[in-house]
Subunit: 351 residues, 2 copies
């Protein structure tokens, strides 16, 4: 009875997908400021009265959840914290300008450790011409929590929301998919081996690409600039932070459409395939691409009129197209069977 | 020897004052964007090319460090998280417009708990006409970490930096000081008693004011509006988040000046005095005011020409004046002795 009362009205966060959770907890919020153009539900908020808008987005990295200090150099971590926040500005087709960094750390960390972290932050800021304009350092009871807020700017008519995709638009992705997750798999494997035998030397040779993809991702500002140079404005865009399936579902939900992506079109690096074949549980590279996450590539839809411009871009891959409202988001296999895309944000763990 | 090597080059964060720590870790950062008007070192960053500027500031609250779930209602916590971030916008003489909220929570918290938290966020947003435009929810390994980024706006020529105070300016503070810390003392006392005997009913009667000051502070937007109405632009301003001494030292450091504040002028509520007299260790109310913190009042300097306007404001107290460069920041007692102000951010714990 006491047990029952304790659980009465208690819903576990893990039972809900993130999309439903955010909808539930932000229910009842109404915007009142004319400078709020777009708020919750895209990669960044869009603010400002004039034609030139401010983009703002925030991203949190938690030790033990998003990173493991056993294999994360602090300098890489600082770089990554800025990179993933800036990726949200890239996903809106904007230019990053400033970041604020809040760090909560336990007394396990020294001043020298913080200096390493900030050296990585500085490296990423320098690389992308971003100013560090604020933030905070505070104590934590356990571990490290980093929150980066990124600000950027964009002309109102060049901002890419998740919601603008139309029927027959082509679906494109930059770079390759699944390699960051493959890097994570290698790091986790070596960690387990090391824990079993601390005299063991980690074997990371031949995995430099996938490791870098996980430990030190780059926001695809080069793609934003390439599209700008060719005067292509995607009809919809988001970054690939939690796998292709998650990103595709976000675009479909916001644009009220379905999509088809072709398995054989998915760009997958040979190192990703190699890692998968070495894993004991027969991991499929396509699973890394669909649900692995951490890639920070850009997924975007373009109008077919832009096809000739896109096809010359070696780092951009056309992987499918937008289908009509009411249709699901699916992957078509080489055998021509269709598999509906699923992602954890849209389905709770217990569903 | 091993012990020595372990400590070689290791500086404890607690050894350094926050001011010196931030200077050290942000050394080498250079701003490159013309839209960055003011970055690290004030209550908020100032951004934008035109005459109307964007203000942005971020604030983190960590469970077990900034709040104790034993006596913090989640709705109050949500309210406070927004309020303390907005206080930074008030301190720049700006108007808050948007906030972003990042929440990292362990599985100890339910969806209903998050709803309570967001109900408090919504209440504060409604109270101050602020839009919630983004953020994130993520998992944490232990406890809750909240990061709020607040955005606001202000005309460039009405922004109040910490750095504008001049010799003979009057030093003013809003509301009263030390009451939030007195509230914290009451809560901590009742917690200890409860832990010793869980059947014990907390005795909070007669402490409603100091408890509310700690649990649900208000950013002093009413003071910002009052000053605006009377066309007073302070020469320097900051909020009182870590005690009057800390805020006064920040203004003196940024403005390259000293100051004198008069002990008998410090506004202290009778409940604060009552709490202090009840405490076993003979706490002085003036210590709560100088170093207690959590008040979120505004400390500001005004030119003497504005004295006639200020003296009619019942919620604004003139507590001292600015002295010349090279002079220390001091408090003058009724016995006419001077005591140099000290604050933890400026002195490491071990100094």
């Amino acid at each position: 009875m006491e047990q029952l009362q304790y659980h009465e009205g208690r819903t576990e966060i893990s039972q809900m997908g993130k999309v439903a959770l955010i909808e539930r907890i932000t229910d009842g919020f109404r915007n009142v400021n004319t400078s709020t153009v777009c708020s919750i539900g895209d990669d960044a908020a869009v603010l400002g009265e004039g034609p030139r808008k401010t983009l703002v987005s925030t991203q949190t990295l938690v030790e033990g959840v998003h990173f493991d200090m056993m294999y994360t150099p602090l300098k890489h971590l600082g770089y990554k914290a800025v990179a993933v926040a800036v990726s949200n500005i890239a996903a809106m087709n904007g230019t990053p300008r400033q970041v604020l960094l809040s760090v909560a750390v336990s007394n396990r960390y020294s001043v020298e450790a913080l200096e390493e972290l900030y050296a990585g932050v500085r490296l990423c800021c320098n690389r992308y011409d971003i100013d560090l304009v604020g933030g905070e350092t505070s104590s934590s009871c356990a571990g490290m929590v980093l929150t980066v807020t990124a600000l950027g700017e964009a002309e109102a008519d060049r901002i890419t929301y998740r919601s603008g995709a139309s029927l027959h638009d082509l679906l494109c992705v930059s770079g390759d998919l699944g390699s960051a997750y493959a890097g994570l798999l290698v790091l986790e494997r070596e960690k387990v081996t090391y824990q079993a035998n601390p005299s063991f030397q980690p074997d990371l040779e031949g995995f430099d690409y996938v490791l870098e993809r996980f430990l030190k991702p780059e926001p695809r500002m080069d793609i934003v600039e390439l599209l700008r140079k060719h005067d292509v404005v995607p009809t919809a865009m988001t970054d690939v932070s939690a796998g292709l399936a998650d990103s595709a579902l976000h675009i479909c939900r916001a644009s009220r459409c379905g999509c088809e992506v072709y398995e054989e079109r998915l760009p997958i690096d040979y190192q990703t395939s190699r890692v998968c074949s070495e894993m004991s549980k027969n991991m499929m590279p396509v699973s890394c691409a669909l649900n692995g996450g951490h890639d920070y590539e850009l997924l975007f839809a373009i109008n077919q009129k832009d096809y000739d411009k896109i096809k010359t871009m070696s780092e951009v891959h056309i992987i499918g197209h937008i289908t009509e409202e009411g249709m699901p988001a699916v992957m078509v296999t080489p055998q021509n069977t269709t598999i509906e895309l699923r992602a954890q944000s849209f389905q709770g763990l217990d569903e």
